[in-house]
Amino acid sequence: MSLTLEIVTPEARVYSDTIDTVVIPTVDGEIGILPGHIPLLTQVADGELRVTKGGKELFLAVGDGFAQVEGDKISILAERAITEEKIDEAAVEEALKRAEAQLKDAAHLDPAEQEHLHSVMRFAGVQLALKRRKR
């Protein structure tokens, strides 16, 4: 029995395939899902998601969302998600700098906006860590 994994963000469906196993970063630490897992609803934290399919491993950076396991279907809703090969290091660093600069004069920003910038920075950090570790 194989699992179907679907990762969706507000902008697009990032990943949809049948897979063997997946490791999801959650607020309580990583959770590995194998076929026949008990139904689960959990909060996804910023981090790297590992998919194993036919002996090959695929990495994705995900951030802020929810994951649900029901039967052999895993659905992940994330605010942001990107597959490893699509990460553009230069662009991420640029975004990180922009967010930092904006946070410097945080006095003008309302809490929601600050929170948003922080999460952008966290996600940027995850992406960079993932990209650099591979080398």
């Binding site: 679907e6 969706v8 963000t9 507000p10 902008e11 697009a12 469906r13 959650t26 607020v27 309580d28 959770i31 008990i38 139904p39 689960l40 609803l41 959990t42 909060q43 929810f66 649900q68 029901e70 039967g71 279907k73 659905s75 809703l77 929601a112």
Partner: protein, 290 residues
């Protein structure tokens, strides 16, 4: 028969109108593209999110959250999402039809000037009106959502429902009433929608669901998030409908103007011809007489 001058004047005015409607069509078309993209891109996400909530539904009994409580409905809270401007065909009128069908006591919250005007004109209970820019940034929509949720939690309204025009495609938009809160009614609504769309209901895993870190914590995060996202998606859909409807209306107006110009030109030429013939006749008659 009208004089050539009158006809000429009319042709000119129709041509002006055509130019304006053509410009408006182009503007609407470019806005439509963006709005449609936004609305369609967000759809799988929202559907999946609804699916998650629906999966919770059978377990609602043992979960505690104000959004899940089914209480007696005394006053309905209805968010009416209309356009700010007119000239978009029957879009708003169709929404108002839905409003007039509501006979039970309800408080209305509006987004879009046309809706606010209608509610005020028909002496319904207008609780609040929210101005949202054309691009419908989330920050502005959120203000409205938070306000309604606040009222819902305070008990001033017992449901949160949204009347909006559902975007199907460029030519078809249908007005719809979508219940959002309480979520208890959601499962039945979703299975209904799935049946309508012809998709099969995913098979349910009836083992107990576990929640990490804990059920209250997950619900605390998931439910408000769901409500925000859901209503925002509806607003995006309404915006896509608006621009599509406006583009179609303007295109029809432009085509009509073109047709009218054609007809008027024909009439004008006939009148001109008749006048010339008349003149020649008169000259000829005068020569004969001399």
């Amino acid at each position: 028969m009208a004089s050539t001058r009158d006809i000429r004047r009319r042709i000119k005015s129709v041509k002006n109108t055509r130019q304006i409607t053509k410009a408006m069509e182009l503007v609407a078309a470019s806005k439509m593209k963006k709005a449609q993209q936004l609305a369609l891109a967000g759809r799988p996400y929202t559907q999946l999110l609804s699916g998650m909530i629906a999966a919770l539904a059978p377990r609602v009994a043992e979960l505690k959250h104000p959004f899940l409580d089914q209480r007696e409905v005394k006053t309905r809270g209805i968010l009416l999402v209309t356009t700010d401007k007119g000239l978009c065909g029957p879009l708003n009128a169709n929404l108002f039809k839905l409003v007039t069908e509501i006979k039970t006591p309800a408080k209305f919250f509006t987004m879009g000037r046309k809706g606010a005007q209608f509610i005020a004109r028909t002496h319904r209970d207008l609780a609040a009106d929210f101005a949202v820019q054309d691009r419908a940034p989330f920050a502005e929509v959120k203000v409205a959502i938070e306000h309604m949720v606040q009222k819902y939690l305070e008990g001033e309204i017992d449901t949160v429902e949204v009347i909006y025009s559902r975007f199907k495609n460029t030519l078809v938009q249908e007005s719809a009433l979508r219940p959002v809160l309480p979520l208890a009614s959601l499962a039945s609504f979703i299975s209904q929608a799935q049946a309508d769309a012809g998709t099969t209901v995913t098979k349910q895993d009836d083992r107990d669901m576990i929640f990490e870190p804990s059920a209250p914590k997950v619900l605390e995060a998931l439910l408000p998030f769901y409500v925000n996202r859901q209503i925002y998606q509806l607003v995006l859909s309404a915006r896509a409908s608006e621009h599509s409807a406006r583009m179609v209306a303007m295109k029809t107006a432009k085509d009509n103007a073109t047709k009218l110009v054609g007809e008027l030109s024909l009439e004008y030429n006939k009148a001109r011809q008749a006048a010339i013939t008349q003149e020649i006749l008169e000259i000829a008659a005068a020569q004969f007489a001399a």
